[in-house]
Structure formats: structure tokens, C-alpha cells
């Protein structure tokens, strides 16, 4: 058993040099801990995220840093470069200074985690378990982007590289092995999914948007993602229709042509504010005649409804209103919640795996420090013993002593290396390793260099 073998994790999983400590610290806020007004103020642009990470590393507060900032969370992950677990406090001060927000305003709004809690938090984030929309997939891409930017910026090291790579793996596993992200959770996606239940692929289909609303725009966005063919926008104000059509990449249609516009689309999305329905049964029946009964999916997002209730039941016209969509979302939310325990099991598994790796990293560093310390002692003793001796007999003797001491050191080091490997399987040797460092006076990386 070679002691060097337990240095593998460093060389395999990350770039850069590991300097002896790997305590992970996190500070941040999300949709639960802070109101949107505060979240907006503490959000980082990609450039700001890189600058913050660089500054934290340069100032010595952190050795490695990654900033994750989305619309619902701003989080700063780092590997502490200081003793005594003071990193979260320093990070909080930095957070406040960076965004020019007094600390009292951040008080109670920011969460701080260290060690295993920070690891678990990130794994739950990438799994979508910490998201406002349980199981949402976007967060995985957002964390990946944040990590890749930090990697390119050089603010990551072996620990955060491994942490984020594991987190992305956890996110993918949770989504592929559980149903947490399987069914639509937003009204917009539910509408689009229902259209897919009718037509299959939506590529090349024609869609008409009547009116304008945030959800309608979201529906269009999802239709676009699915390769919708043509898009027409109808609005009471033609200039508004033109503006929307330009933004959505569609074609504006006059309000007076609304009835005629119904002859072609496969998907019709209505989002008009007004007390009276804009689409009547008669209009749809006429359109179905012109379309020779070809199926149409009508997504009515208006409140009150934009499509006359009597229009329900027209052959091959599938009508979904906001209540239908809301009910689907609610059903799906419950289904996703039922998957939380299974997702947590995967998170736990990876947390333990990460802790094992982290312990091996710490162990490798400790053995390396111990070997360095013993070699330095050996060199010092040999120098004192043979100081000034130039004879060939003395040189031979020194060589013998040196060889003997080298073998002795290797034997001494081999035993703790083996034990550490065994303890790594117990998953929580880190605190013990810190104690060992103190016991042998091995200190941190800086001290090692000096010894």
C-alpha cells in the first residue's frame, strides 16, 4: 500500500494545488430567506460574480470561490482560507460591502452553511429541491454556467471543482431517476404539453396569440423552443400587436381579422383582458367548418374567460382554460412532492461520496505534510551529524544513514496512510485529521513550506 495512492483525488478531479484544508463555506439568500426586493439588490451579474470571486481569493478570505446568482438566489461558495471557521462572517461582510447594503439589512435574510451542510445545500439546489418551482430544470443549467465561468476565471480549485462536478451529477441523477421534473409545473408549460398530447411534435405547427400577457408570452417561448412553424399575433391595438410580433418573431394581424385568423392555426392562445369573451361558439364553429374539422388546441389564459363556455364540446376543438391548467399544475406539484424522499436519498448518497473524497484529500495532504516534516528532520539530523566530514568513509556512512532513515520514514508513514484509508470509509475523519495536524505540529500549507 503506497501512501501516495491516496493523493489520487487531487490529481484526478481538479486543477491546481491543494494546500491542506478543504472546509467549504456558503453564504446566500433565496426565495425563502429574502423578499424579492432584497434578492434583486444582492444579485450578481456574470461580470460581478467573476469580480467577487477574484477579490475574495486575492484577499485571502477564500482559496476557491464560485458565485451562483439566479432570479431566486444569490449564493457564494468558497473554500475557506482562514482558521477557525470565520469565513461565513467575512463573506457576509464582503456581501454587504460588495452590494453596498448595511449588514443589519442582511441580518436574518442570509443563510450561512459550512462543511457538510454547504455540500448538501448545493446538491439540493442542483436537484431542484430548493427551488421555488420544485424540480425545475433551469437551475441545473444556471449552476453549470456559473461554475464554468468561475473555472475559466481560475477562481476554482480541486475542492470546488469536485463539489460542482458532483452537484451537476446529482442534479442529472435526480431528474433521470425520479419523477421530480417529469411533469409540467407552470401554466405555460402545462398548456404547451397539452397541445403536444394532441399533435405530438409541434414542429412546423401554426400558432395564433390573441392579446398579450406574461403567461401568453411564456407559452410562445415554449412553443418556439419546440420549433413552432408560424406565429401570428392579434391585438386590439395593432401597434401593440406589431411590437409583440417583432419581439416574438411572428406576424401581426389586425383585430378585425380575428375571425378569419381562426381558420388556420393548430394552437390558439388567448390572453385578453375584458369582461366579455372574444371568441364565441359561433366563431369557432364557423372556423371548424372552414378548417374541415381539423383539430385545434385552444388555450384560454384570460380571466374572465376569453372563450365562451358554450364553445366546449365542438368536435375536434380542444379547449383548456386557466382552471384546467391550474388543476394540472396542482396535480403535478403533488406528484413531484411525492418524489422528494427518493431525491433526498440520491442527495445523501452523493454527500457521503463527496465527504469520502474530501477525507481522502485531507488524508493525502496530512501524509504528505508528515513525510515532509520527517524528511526535513532527517536532513537536519544528518547535516548536524556529518557537518564538515569530507572523507569517503563518512560519505558512505551518511549514505547508509540516509537510506536507513528513508526506509524508516516510509514505514512510519505507511501505517497512518493505511489507517486513514480505512477511516475514509467511515466518512467522517475530517475533524480527526485537524486534530492530528495540531498534534504533530504540521499546520497548514504555509507552515509546511516553512518547516
Amino acid at each position: 500500500m503506497s501512501p501516495d495512492s491516496i493523493t489520487d483525488p487531487v490529481s484526478r478531479h481538479g486543477e491546481g494545488e491543494f494546500r491542506g484544508r478543504s472546509e467549504i463555506a456558503l453564504i446566500g439568500c433565496n426565495h425563502i430567506s429574502a423578499p424579492v426586493e432584497l434578492r434583486e439588490r444582492v444579485a450578481f451579474t456574470p461580470q460581478q460574480a467573476l469580480r467577487a470571486a477574484r477579490e475574495l481569493c486575492e484577499s485571502g478570505i477564500l482559496e476557491e470561490a464560485v458565485v451562483v446568482s439566479t432570479c431566486n438566489r444569490s449564493e457564494l461558495y468558497g473554500v475557506s482560507g482562514t482558521e477557525g471557521g470565520s469565513a461565513p462572517l467575512e463573506l457576509l461582510s464582503y456581501f454587504g460591502e460588495f452590494h453596498k447594503i448595511p449588514l443589519r439589512e442582511l441580518d436574518g435574510r442570509m443563510y450561512q452553511r459550512v462543511g457538510v451542510q454547504a455540500v448538501r445545500h448545493l446538491f439540493r439546489v442542483t436537484s431542484g429541491l430548493d427551488s421555488m418551482l420544485l424540480g425545475e430544470a433551469e437551475i441545473l443549467g444556471q449552476v453549470r454556467e456559473a461554475y464554468n465561468r468561475a473555472l475559466e476565471n481560475g477562481s476554482t480549485g480541486p475542492v470546488l471543482n469536485r463539489l460542482f462536478q458532483s452537484a451537476l451529477e446529482v442534479g442529472k441523477r435526480v431528474r433521470s431517476e425520479t419523477e421530480i421534473g417529469a411533469r409540467p409545473m407552470s401554466v405555460a408549460v402545462a398548456g404547451v404539453k397539452l397541445a403536444e398530447r394532441i399533435f405530438g411534435e409541434l414542429k412546423g405547427r401554426i400558432a395564433v396569440i390573441v392579446g398579450a400577457g406574461t403567461v401568453a408570452e411564456q407559452v410562445v417561448e415554449h412553443l418556439r423552443l419546440r420549433g413552432i412553424g408560424e406565429l401570428r399575433v392579434v391585438n386590439r391595438s395593432f401597434s401593440r400587436a406589431q411590437e409583440l410580433a417583432l419581439r416574438m418573431g411572428g406576424q401581426a394581424v389586425e383585430w378585425s381579422a380575428l375571425s378569419a385568423t381562426l381558420d388556420q392555426p393548430d394552437i390558439l392562445v388567448t390572453s385578453v383582458s375584458g369582461a366579455e369573451p372574444v371568441l364565441t361558439r359561433a366563431m369557432l364553429e364557423r372556423a371548424m367548418l372552414v378548417r374541415s374539422g381539423r383539430a385545434i388546441c385552444v388555450i384560454d389564459l384570460g380571466v374572465p374567460r376569453n372563450v365562451e363556455p358554450q364553445a366546449e364540446g365542438i368536435y375536434n376543438a380542444y379547449l383548456f382554460n386557466i382552471d384546467h391548467l391550474g388543476e394540472i399544475v396542482e396535480q403535478n406539484r403533488k406528484a413531484r412532492e411525492a418524489e422528494i424522499p427518493r431525491a433526498e436519498v440520491i442527495v445523501d448518497e452523493h454527500v457521503n461520496k463527496f465527504l469520502g473524497w474530501q477525507a481522502s484529500l485531507e488524508g493525502a495532504s496530512l501524509i504528505s505534510a508528515l513525510r515532509s516534516r520527517l524528511n526535513a528532520e532527517r536532513d537536519s539530523l544528518l547535516a548536524a551529524r556529518f557537518n564538515g566530514s569530507q572523507s569517503s568513509a563518512a560519505a558512505a556512512q551518511r549514505e547508509q544513514f540516509e537510506e536507513f532513515a528513508r526506509e524508516l520514514i516510509e514505514r512510519i508513514v505507511q501505517l497512518p496512510a493505511g489507517r486513514l484509508r480505512e477511516r475514509r470509509k467511515l466518512k467522517r475523519p475530517i475533524e480527526g485529521l485537524v486534530g492530528l495536524r495540531e498534534l504533530f505540529g504540521l499546520g497548514a500549507a504555509d507552515d509546511e513550506e516553512g518547516s
Binding site: 433521470s176 419523477e179 397539452l194 398530447r197 374539422g293 381539423r294 380542444y318 383548456f320
Partner: protein
């Protein structure tokens, strides 16, 4: 007359069913692939079972109830596998494979201990006539299942209360396409089988028994499915109406396969 291959085939179909259900519940590429592989292996084992029986009785293996049911189950599996490969949709497998298992299981349970073989039922023409005829029934059976799924999905869509399976089964238009493909296979096979039947009869007796009720009901089935293929492309019928027609057509097939075979014809009686 059963053999170990029948039992093996039932086992493999069972495994395939389990993986199809798993795939339906949690859409995973591995479970879907395993389901297809198990089905393929089941089809191979089932084929050897039919072949072995054929060797034992020195004739085609399906001139009795066991044989016809076993062949029907085999062709149901083969036709479904073809459809799955063509349309790249596995969700329906969880509904088709149980019928394959049921048919084969019933065939095995009711299999006669000895076979009284009719010597006139020899020759390639007769073998093809029966094989292709049962293929047609199998294809119509699958189109019936697809149409029923269509009607249920359509009802769920209109009711706005979709469950888990709703999101897994193919979309309405895909179901309709699959059903159409299946009916095409059935229609071609039944037309070919009818032609082969006439040719075999002419070879055997020198004339055509057009007075046989089985001939008339078969022509009616051909006309009914041809009508379905016509109306399914008509916008006013396309959708649930066409699916209902397709499902009803299968009732005629069932009538032909059971009542007509049993009470109105002597030529086509497998019982």
C-alpha cells in the same frame, strides 16, 4: 401439446411486460430497451415452440384451437414489435403484451393432448392462407387497442384531469397514425389471405365456395376497414369518430372469428 419453449416464451413475455410497465411509470431508455429485447427473445422462443409442434404433427401447427391461438399471440407480438420499431413508441407495449401472454396462456391450458390432423390441410397455399389471415386479425387487434387508447386519451383531454399514464402514452395524432399503419397491415394481410384461400380451395376442389358465410363476413371486414382508412383522412371524421369506427370494426372481426367460425362455417372451424 405444449413444450418447454411455450413456457419460456410466456416467461420472456412476462419479463417484457414488467419492463414495459416500468418504462411507462418511469420513462427510462434502459427499461424500454430491455422490454423490447425481452419481447424479441419471447418471439424467438415462441417461434421455436410453433416450429417444434409443426415437426411433431408433420403439418402446419395451427389447424386446431391451440395452434390458431398460439399463432395469433405470436403474430400479435410480431406486429406490435414492427409498429414499435416503425413509430418509435414503446408506451403501448404495456397494453399489448398482456394480451399476447393471455392468448398464449389460454392456448397452453386448453391445448389438446393429441391432434387429429386433416390431411387436406397440407401445402404451402393453405399454410400461407392461415398465417396471413391470423396476421390480419392480430393487426386489427392492435388497431383496436390503439383506438381504445385514443378514445380514453381524448376523453381525459376533454375532462382536463390527466393522470400519470396520460403523459406517457403517445399523442392523439401519433395513436391515430399507429392505428392507421396497423389497419393497413391487417387489410393487406386479409386481402392476401382471402385470395390465397380461394386459390387453395380451387386447387383442392376445382371451384370457389363463395356461398360460405366466412367469405362474406371477410369481405365485409375488408370493406369496413377500407372505409375506416378512407374516413380517417377526412377532417370531419378524423379523430374520435374514426377511432370509434375502428374499434367497432374489430367487433365484426371478433364476430367473424368466433360466432361465424363456430356456427356458420365448417371450413374455418378451429374448435
Amino acid at each position: 401439446m405444449t413444450n418447454g419453449m411455450d413456457i419460456l416464451a410466456i416467461g420472456l413475455y412476462g419479463v417484457s411486460f414488467v419492463f414495459y410497465v416500468l418504462n411507462l411509470y418511469r420513462e427510462r431508455s434502459w427499461s424500454g430497451r430491455l422490454a423490447t429485447v425481452a419481447l424479441l427473445l419471447g418471439i424467438a422462443a415462441h417461434y421455436y415452440a410453433l416450429l417444434e409442434r409443426s415437426r411433431v404433427i408433420h403439418a402446419i401447427p395451427y389447424d386446431d384451437l391451440y395452434g390458431s391461438m398460439s399463432l395469433f399471440a405470436w403474430l400479435l407480438a410480431v406486429t406490435y414489435l414492427g409498429l414499435e420499431t416503425y413509430h418509435r413508441k414503446r408506451a403501448v407495449g404495456s397494453l399489448v403484451v398482456p394480451f399476447v401472454i393471455l392468448w398464449l396462456l389460454v392456448a397452453v391450458i386448453v391445448a389438446p393432448s393429441s391432434v387429429q390432423h386433416d390431411p387436406s390441410a397440407n401445402g404451402a397455399l393453405f399454410a400461407l392462407h392461415i398465417t396471413v389471415g391470423i396476421l390480419a386479425y392480430a393487426a386489427f387487434g392492435i388497431s383496436f387497442l390503439l383506438s381504445v387508447i385514443f378514445l380514453v386519451q381524448n376523453r381525459i383531454l376533454r375532462g382536463g384531469r390527466p393522470g400519470l399514464a396520460f403523459w406517457r402514452f403517445p399523442a392523439l395524432e401519433v395513436l391515430e397514425r399507429m392505428s392507421r399503419s396497423s389497419v393497413w397491415v391487417g387489410l393487406m394481410a386479409l386481402a392476401a389471405s382471402t385470395g390465397l384461400g380461394f386459390a387453395w380451395e380451387h386447387q383442392l376442389t376445382g371451384h370457389f365456395a363463395i356461398a360460405d358465410p366466412k367469405v362474406w363476413i371477410t369481405l365485409f371486414v375488408l370493406a369496413a376497414y377500407a372505409t375506416y382508412l378512407r374516413i380517417v383522412r377526412t377532417p370531419t371524421w378524423r379523430g374520435s369518430r374514426a377511432a370509434l369506427v375502428c374499434a367497432c370494426n374489430f367487433l365484426i372481426v371478433l364476430f367473424s372469428y368466433t360466432i361465424v367460425n363456430l356456427y356458420f362455417t365448417s371450413f374455418h372451424r378451429f374448435f
